[in-house]
């Protein structure tokens, strides 16, 4: 197989890759020029035809989302850029924003033209200080060069981009939570419908897109639909709901590998190839016990499922929730799954926004049950209890407003089914992985 030429990450190794001059020298902002010469609906259709699916986790078709906006709306229409990258294990948006902010800004401008919006908000997590400074400088450069503001490139198109920083909450990554937070409130997800495309930010039609999705839009404009469709996995003819997984994707590899990195590959790479070829293999010559396919809320692949294709449908076929953010975390065979699962549950229970009872209570109960197991006081029934709690929370059983609960339940469901033997052995042995200091941490 020929070596894949990165597209989204093409410029990141260049010196001063964040500067406007360099970006324009590499052909930057020609895609915007091309888009502005087209009718907005044509841009939307182009993106729709490319089969671009949202990179933020749900994998919803970006073009289809744009076409849900009400026709002939008097405005304003808003674009929100979801840069609240908080799924544990994910760091691709940070690289895109820090190393090539103009690629994103161009994508934002194209998207705004397509959806007839004159105002875009970038919702950036507060922890990304460097991204903030780089983006802020890039936006100022654009205003000075006439690429943002009034009359962009002499076409009469007007766009303001504002940078808004969050304050540290995982739930801000949920699109309606993000909107609430932009309005200066607690990030409590809203009940849908109405979907944001009908009633979103300040009760106006709003589109929320991920950073990586918008970066892809830029390249679809320059290189065309055929190029985009030449990469990835076509839809499964036996599955009518499969829309195919096309285009390049940034995979983040971390955990117990020799070379943790972020690598760009066509969608549909095998988990095994990612670990062995791109991640340099499992560290210390050990074997992988479990692999997180796309951020912890997607669940776990076991060691014999490593030949799963990481496209939008692949992880779902082996019982995971989906591709998520394509953040691959490798867990070696010396690590206890009970401990890993406890870490997941503690995180989710801390980050549950507290609106829906099944999620608020469920995540806390699961953490407590795992705490009990970890102190050596677990019972064998606890495994089924964990599964039962996990199975009754989330959008899929229909008990919560947003998908956080599904993301909290999935690792639990996967762990207790795929690693049941290990849980049973742990409980039977009556051992405890808690040191006094960890007990303090658990109390926190």
């Amino acid at each position: 197989m020929p070596r894949f030429e990165p597209v989204l990450l093409k410029r990141i190794d260049k010196p001063n890759s964040a500067a406007l001059a360099g970006y324009r020298a590499d052909g930057g902002y020609t895609a915007l020029k091309k888009a502005l010469a087209m009718a907005p609906d044509d841009v939307t259709n182009l993106v729709k035809d490319s089969g671009l699916r949202g990179r933020g986790g749900a994998g919803f078709s970006a073009g289809a989302k744009w076409s849900f906006l009400p026709k002939n709306h008097p405005g304003p229409i808003y674009l929100c850029v979801n840069a609240d990258e908080s799924e544990p294990g994910t760091f691709n948006n940070r690289i895109l924003m820090e190393q090539d902010p103009h690629q994103l800004l161009e994508g934002i401008a194209i998207a705004c033209h397509a959806i007839r919006s004159n105002a875009a908000y970038i919702y950036l997590r507060y922890e990304y200080g460097r991204s903030y400074r780089v983006l802020d400088a890039a936006i100022k450069e654009c205003y000075a060069a006439g690429l943002l503001g009034e009359n962009i490139l002499g076409t009469g198109f007007k766009l303001d981009v504002r940078l808004h920083r969050g304050a540290g909450a995982y739930i801000c990554g949920e699109e309606t939570g993000l909107i609430e937070s932009l309005e200066g409130k607690r990030a409590w997800p809203r009940i849908k419908p109405p979907y944001p495309a009908i009633e979103g930010l300040f009760r106006k039609p709003t589109i929320v897109n991920n950073v990586e999705t918008l970066c892809c839009v830029t390249h679809i404009l320059t290189r065309g639909v055929e190029w985009f469709k030449s990469m990835g996995v076509p839809p499964d003819p036996n599955n009518k709901r499969d829309q195919g997984s096309y285009g390049p994707k940034l995979y983040c590899i971390s955990g117990h590998v020799n070379k943790p990195c972020c690598v760009e590959l066509p969608l549909g790479v095998m988990a095994r190839e990612l670990i062995d070829v791109h991640g340099g293999g499992v560290w210390k010559g050990r074997k992988a016990k479990a692999v997180v396919p796309g951020g912890i809320s997607m669940g776990f692949l076991s060691a014999n499922e490593l030949d799963t294709k990481l496209d939008f449908e692949g992880p779902g076929k082996v019982g995971c929730l989906g591709l998520g953010t394509a953040a691959v975390v490798v867990i070696d065979d010396q690590t206890s799954m009970v401990d890993v699962l406890y870490n997941c549950c503690r995180f989710m229970s801390h980050e549950s926004c507290g609106q829906c009872t099944p999620c608020r209570e469920g995540t806390a109960w699961m953490t407590k049950i795992l705490e009990r197991i970890r102190t050596g006081r677990g019972k064998l029934e606890d495994i089924d209890l964990l599964y039962e709690v996990a199975n009754s929370m989330g959008i899929i059983p229909g008990t919560t407003i947003c998908g956080l609960a599904d993301g909290a339940a999935w690792p639990v469901k996967n762990a207790v089914t795929k690693f049941r033997g290990e849980f049973e052995e742990y409980i039977r042995s009556g051992r405890s992985s808690i040191t006094p200091a960890q007990q303090l941490m658990a109390a926190h």
Partner: protein, 175 residues
Amino acid sequence: MAEAAKTEVIKKKAGPAHPSGDKRFKLLEVTMKRHQFRSDALIEVMHAAQELFGFLEVDLMFFIARYLKLPPSRVFGVATFYNLFSLRPKGEHTCVLCTGTACYVKGADALLDAVEKLAGIKAGETTEDGKLSLVTARCLGACGIAPAVVVDGTVKGLETPDSLVQQLKGWLPNG
């Protein structure tokens, strides 16, 4: 025009920024004015307030609520919802330990264990002399250099308990 008139009214009603005469309130007022006293700028305003005062005192939250014309409960609610707002004073130095999954499997617990032992405080607390605050964070997006630690705003990766203790030792009496 209408916006300017509104600002004028608020100014007249409020008089000087804060009865204490603390200049920082005046600076905060300028920030709020830049946001045209809009209630949706609350999070930005609170970031500014925390940068000025170090943490969000109850009095400060009342001040913000009055200027943005919001119920104090709303300001308090936002302050307690988000991880980065602090209602208690922070230490002179801060050490943030990432406990995301990638850092966890690479030994973030051992780091926490070491720092807790060294400083004699739990995560989320500040030493009695106000020298060091120990904080745990959700994933910092630095999974490639796990386990990651942020010491006084600088991200450091691939830490071991020994290397971290070496960095913090100087700030602690028993170090």
